[in-house]
Amino acid sequence: MSETATPIISTRNIGKHFGGVKALEGIDFDLAEGELRCLIGPNGAGKSTFFRCLTKQYKPSTGEIFFRGRNVSRLKTHEIARLGIGIKTQVPNVFDGLTVYENLHLAANARMYGAAADEACDAAIERMALQRIVDERLDRLSHGQRQWVELAMIITSRPVLILLDEPTAGMTGEEVAKTAELIHEINRDTSLIVVEHDMNFVRAIARKVTVFHQGRIFAEESAEEIMHDPKIGEIYLGKRKKVQ
């Protein structure tokens, strides 16, 4: 994809204010078709707020959002989803009272009917190796497993752009490796934005990284440059979130 092509998503001057608190301010962001971008930044930098604005869980206080060149600033959350934008929220958002299969089936039903939905569901179970827990209720799974199921749900609904807010939080080392592998695989045909704290993980998955700091875009450079940028070390100093 050439640099001049229309970005899959872009924002102009997005801001979000809570009373006097400026959680986001003047965000100009572009993501190319097929790109995999990481967002990093200390706690409270505004990363999740940015995702909430993109999916219209929050109504931005200022600015505009474009999807493949179309102004989608006025769309509602479910209409944004229908554009093919899937999101894994920071706190897992799953159907706790339902089984893994039922969770996936609902996700499939969001975009397909009948046999097609059944097939998409079975394909996700296969791809994500969920066979052993398909009949478990979500509230009986570990945090890492729930995140994994949520990823499976997003894949099942076949979006063109996926937003992942800290997908590896609470996962074991082995699960993190699996997730990195999966993200690469998804990225073959899907654009992604991934919020992540773990720099090793970021380096493993992304070329370009956007750094948020105090509600603004602080830097946008390659993962390697970020690692050696003293300014970025400073904003993280003492604030680096531990990945459990």
Binding site: Q57, K76, H78, V94, F95, L98, M128, L130, W148
Partner: protein, 338 residues
């Protein structure tokens, strides 16, 4: 639809259908009438069991849809002298009301507590309004609304197009029983359909549904309308039960009834609320025959103690008990992926 559900619902239809057919031959007329009333109330309970228990939308206004259905039936049947069109009118009128009300509540994204309050207030407004319709100017065609005195002599259900073939008490018992079975089976089928699963998803996590592209405002209006249709159907049965309807179906005490039936029977089940309805209606009838204790006081005490002891309701508690016995020790969930 899977096989075991087909078999199960087939059995319900056959056994239930047979019972409804033969029971009147073995029961006295008192019991027949009492059960007919239980059936009508059970249909009302199912309307809330579905809306609250499965779509996750709590409404204090199911009695209003029930009452509007009964009044609409009465007015239409009196005017036409025939129930053929009165029945669809009695279902459509509450549906229209629910769509209108639902649109304003759910598209405004009111929180559930406001929805509860507004549905209650609307019910009470209808109560006040119907109460002051005693003046002869309040007529719907030939039907006088009659204020707190209500509408007497409502024409009974007849075979569509044949007013000479109308339902007596025994036929009404069978019709009401048949309607209850049909609503129960219809809801079971709805719940395994795409719409049904989507509504349960909304109950479980509204935000996730939105994030996947479902318009939960619309889904709520649809669920509300379905529940209003069911409640209206219950109202038809009720208006037929003793050919009479008055505004008490809109008062606070009656509006609270379906909620109590559903809580006692068990939220998230369909059989529970039916059981709750039959048990509580029977209890209040039996208590009504003695003079020692105030009925409402005793029922209130029973309800309070029950909710404290069996907060999940009858059917979910029985299910949990049976499952625990079957499972023995709780089986640990496996690993997600290896």
């Amino acid at each position: 639809m899977n096989r075991s559900l087909t078999i199960q619902l087939g059995l319900v239809a056959i056994v239930g259908g047979l019972l409804v057919l033969i029971l009147p031959s073995y029961l006295g007329i008192d019991r027949v009438l009492q059960l007919t009333l239980n059936f009508a109330f059970s249909v009302l309970a199912l309307s809330l069991a579905f809306l609250w228990g499965y779509a996750g939308v709590f409404s204090f206004g199911q009695a209003a849809f029930f009452g509007v259905g009964a009044y609409a039936y009465a007015a239409a049947a009196i005017n036409f002298g025939d129930s053929t069109w009165a029945v669809p009118i009695a279902i459509l009128t509450p549906v229209l009301l629910s769509v209108l009300l639902g649109y304003f509540m759910f598209y405004a994204r009111l929180t559930s507590i406001y929805v509860a309050v507004i549905t209650l207030v609307v019910t009470l407004i209808i109560y006040k309004f119907m109460g002051q319709t005693a003046k002869p100017s309040y007529m719907i065609g030939n039907a006088s609304l009659g204020g707190y005195n209500g509408i007497p002599a409502i024409p009974p259900l007849n075979v569509p197009g044949r007013i000479d073939l109308w339902a007596g008490p025994v036929e009404m018992f069978r019709i009401a029983g048949g309607v209850l079975l049909a609503v129960y089976i219809g809801l079971r089928l709805l719940l395994v359909s795409r719409l049904g699963r989507v509504l349960v998803g909304m109950r479980e996590n509204e935000l996730r549904m939105e994030l996947m592209g479902f318009d939960t405002r619309l889904l709520k209006v649809v669920a509300f309308a379905i529940s209003a249709a069911i409640a209206g159907l219950g109202g038809v049965l009720f208006a037929n039960w003793n050919a009479f309807i008055d505004p008490h179906v809109f008062n606070l005490a009656f509006a609270a009834q379906p909620i109590i039936w559903v809580i006692i029977g068990g939220l998230g089940t369909l059989t529970g609320p039916i059981l709750g309805t039959v048990v509580l209606s029977t209890l209040s009838l039996e208590l009504g025959t003695q003079k020692m204790l105030d009925v409402n006081l005793v029922l209130g005490a029973i309800f309070t103690i029950f909710v404290l002891l069996v907060p999940q309701g009858i059917i979910p508690s029985i299910r949990a008990f049976l499952e625990n016995r079957r499972a023995g020790a709780a089986n640990k969930p496996g690993v997600a992926h290896e």
